[in-house]
């Protein structure tokens, strides 16, 4: 049963991953990518890493891929131009792909491919606990350092793009909420026949 499920999911992952690079429309590529993410979450559930699977869906499918889709949809893409230069990029792409496969193979052979060897804390009650042990106890310093690096990157991006133009009207929320009825409304007795 598990084997059948594995082969179905694996087939979908492979086909959709190929479609990511084969699709002509970039938006379709991103949609295929989302299917790939989602199905690999299914594979993770199969090896018993349900916490990681849910995180993959929440973080990558629910947030990162949405922003991807956002950017790609708003790009003004010229399909003809996109196809040019494919051959000149091919060797470089193949090299990257080969390096990637080699790395995965190395990691797999070094640790052995059975599912148990991927469980970092065999004694932990569930996988949320196991990941928590590794991330927040064993490697706390590295975890916090990576958080700091992300913070620096975020501040850098904000500093690079934030500029206040002088003559642009801006919303000042404090000013808006501080406004009371007597600041905005005046009652005037208009005499009939005279107007204001």
């Amino acid at each position: 049963m598990e084997l059948i499920a594995f082969y179905i999911l694996a087939a979908i992952v492979t086909v959709s991953a190929v479609c990511v690079i084969a699709a002509k429309n970039p938006v379709h590529s991103v949609l295929w990518l989302i299917l790939t993410f989602f199905t690999s979450a299914g594979l993770m559930v199969l090896i018993g890493a349900e916490f990681l699977a849910m995180l993959l869906v929440v973080v990558y499918v629910g947030a990162v891929a949405v922003l991807f889709l956002f950017v790609v949809m708003m790009l003004d893409v010229d399909f003809v131009e996109l196809k040019q230069g494919f051959l000149s990029y091919l060797p470089f792409g193949a090299l990257v792909g080969l390096a990637f496969i080699a790395e995965i193979a190395l990691a797999t052979f070094a640790r052995g491919a059975d599912a148990d060897s991927f469980n970092p804390y065999p004694g932990a009650e569930n996988n949320a606990e196991a990941i928590g042990q590794v991330m927040y106890t064993d490697y706390l310093l590295l975890f916090q350092l990576s958080g700091l690096i992300l913070l620096v990157a975020m501040i850098g991006a904000i500093v690079l793009t934030l500029r206040h133009k002088p003559h642009v009207k801006r919303q000042n929320i404090a000013h808006q909420t501080a406004r009371r009825r007597k600041d905005a409304i005046r009652r005037i007795d208009v005499k009939s026949g005279e107007g204001l």
Partner: protein
């Protein structure tokens, strides 16, 4: 007989699961028909109108009439639309809305799949709901739907963050991500419900604020008024669903309302004690009745709470004026995010130093 079941155990299990799914689907769709009517009736009552009152007694069959009308109309697909994605979007939106219900426990043990990471699954599936909207808006190949879907995506992604943190406060208190565990942590009367959490009195103000924030975030997450900017009719005609007609539109609408009911169910489970009544009846008294009667009583409490929240959703729609988009973003990022983050700090500090969990 037992040998038969053992021999065909797998098949039997599959059939039970399929039966449960069918039951959930049918009950949900039927109750949705009446909840839709209730939404319109409440809205009408606030405006001192009568609301739908022609089809059936008190207009009870209005939703079924609407259903028939949607099905019988012609499906119009715009010429410039991306046909596959255009039709995939409403299907996706409906499927995800139903899929989330797989982990909702409506009474002790009455759940399709009692997942270990149930609350995370709910969060994941509800965060996927945004795809139906983005795909629909993009595939329509038209300006208003596209703008509507962009607004909607930004809004949903923003409010997911605060919803996530609020869920974390509850998980910290319970010490489990299983929805049934979360409910049974609130079993000893209304004072143990997470809204009040009187058994951790120091956390009472925090959890009350979290509950209110969850309600507001749920409004934003489901694109309900006052945060219905994705379909602001004064600016965007009807947002991402402008080009949709007939059955695809119906699927979008059912998906949207299912998500609203799902949010009501989530609030019930996370904060209002799920299937537990406000005052525990005592085990000796409960033992007088057969199990299914007790479970039906639990189911009744669960449904009453969900309907109560749905009533609040409907009331808010009628009473509150629409937000401006920059105010919406400000509320999400500058008020809800820091507050919920602070609450996570406070609750985790409390859990560690007061030794709530083992």
């Amino acid at each position: 007989m037992s040998a038969f079941i053992q021999e065909h155990g797998l098949l039997f299990g599959w059939l039970t699961v399929i039966g449960q799914i069918m039951l959930f689907t049918i009950v949900l769709l039927l109750s949705l028909a009446f909840l839709l009517l209730m939404d319109r009736k409440v809205w009408a009552a606030v405006m001192m109108r009568k609301g739908p009152n022609v089809v059936g007694p008190f207009g009870l069959l209005q939703s079924f009439a609407d259903f028939g009308k949607f099905l019988l109309k012609e499906i119009i697909i715009p010429a410039g639309a991306n046909k596959t994605v255009f039709l995939l979007a409403p299907i996706l939106s409906l499927t995800l809305a139903f899929a989330a219900w797989a982990v909702i426990p409506v009474a002790p043990g009455w759940v399709v799949s009692d997942l270990n990471v149930g609350i995370l699954y709910l969060f994941a599936v509800s965060s996927l709901g945004v795809y139906g909207i983005i795909m629909g808006g993009w595939a329509s190949n038209s300006k208003y739907p596209f703008l509507g879907s962009l607004r909607s995506a930004a809004q949903m992604v923003s409010y997911e963050v605060s919803i996530g943190f609020i869920i974390i406060t509850v998980i910290l208190l319970v010490g489990s991500m299983n929805l049934s565990d979360i409910v049974s942590n609130q079993s000893s009367g209304f004072w143990s419900w997470h809204v009040f959490s009187f058994n951790h009195v120091l956390l009472f103000p925090v959890m009350l604020v979290m509950f209110v924030m969850f309600f507001v975030s749920a409004l934003a997450e489901t694109n309900r008024p006052p945060f219905d900017l994705p379909e602001a009719e004064s600016e965007l005609v009807a947002g991402y669903q402008v080009e949709y007609s007939s059955t695809p539109y119906l699927l979008f609408m059912i998906g949207e309302y299912l998500n609203i009911v799902l949010m009501c169910a989530m609030m019930t489970i996370l904060f209002l004690g799920g299937w537990h009544g406000p005052i525990p009846l005592g085990e000796d008294f409960v033992a007088n009745f057969p199990l299914w009667v007790v479970n039906l009583g639990h189911l009744a409490w669960f449904m009453a709470k969900v309907v109560f929240f749905f009533f609040l959703f409907a009331l808010v729609k009628a009473v509150v004026p629409r937000y401006r988009y920059d105010q919406l973003m400000r509320l999400g990022w500058k008020i809800f995010l820091p507050t919920s983050l602070a609450a996570v700090l406070i609750v985790s500090g409390y859990v560690v130093y007061m030794g709530v969990q083992a």
